[in-house]
Amino acid sequence: MNRPLAAAFATGLAIPLVAAMAALPRHGSPDQPIHTHVAAQYHAWPHELGNLVTAVLLDYRGMDTFGEVVVIFAALMVVLVLRHREEPMPSPDPSPIVAFIVRLVTPFIALFGFHVILVGHEAPGGGLQGAAILGGLVLLNGVVFGPDHVRSLLPGRALPWLQGAGPLAFLAAGVVGAVTTGFALGYPTHLPLLQEAMVVGIEFGIGIGGALIFSRIYLAMEGA
């Protein structure tokens, strides 16, 4: 699209949007549209988890989080369908400084990633954050050292099953919830130990599954 037409389109889009910003309530006032519908109910309901974000993601909006892990799994399916055997690029020759720092820092980042997954129901953190951290770590090693080195970091035979760990953890939690309470993803509040085990299990499933999905997407793009 030629430049004047694109500039005119962008200006024509900006003017009504900026004018609409004048009609919103003032920044910080409680009658914003986002606070007046369902959010008040979520604050009123009791929840045992320390982190309200995790409570909303896994408890009140558990089905939405289930849909999201299915979305990221479907993205992996599409990337795997689109891959093709690629001639390997010349193996990267990282400078010794970069190689040393990446090798030094990788175990600490991995430890932090697992910590973020495990502590997610009490403090800021959770499955998605841990998945992003661990996936980013594997991608860092791949960009610096090449995809063959990355393959040694990943589990071998169990990889296809572990990639589906997100949806599988949700299915397992759904079955357990349906058996103990009457609802498909209901958390049994009368068995607090089982409830905590379900939450940590789902977090671990999202975390490990998401990280392995990111790694596999990277390997598919490198043509491996």
Binding site: P124, Q129, G136, L137, L139, M221
Partner: protein
């Protein structure tokens, strides 16, 4: 004080987004995109959203930037 910090962050965000839009060099645009993502992470912290800041830092500067770099390396002659 926090208002000044807010204005500085938003101005930096707009400038970095404009720089990503205008750069012709693709690898430079990818690194600028990583910088944009990190400034956005500081904005999330200023707004009091630690979960979102953690996810944005790991995803924007970690996964998305690396995927862009892999594709740019594969497709440039």
């Amino acid at each position: 004080m926090s208002l000044v910090f807010d204005v500085v962050l938003l101005v930096l965000l707009l400038l970095t987004a404009l720089a990503v839009a205008r750069t012709r060099n693709l690898a430079g645009a990818a690194i600028l995109f990583s910088a944009y993502s990190l400034i956005l992470c500081v904005l999330w912290l200023h707004r009091g959203a630690p979960d979102v800041a953690l996810t944005e830092a790991a995803v924007g500067a970690g996964v998305t930037t690396f995927l862009f770099l892999v594709v740019i390396a594969r497709t440039s002659p």
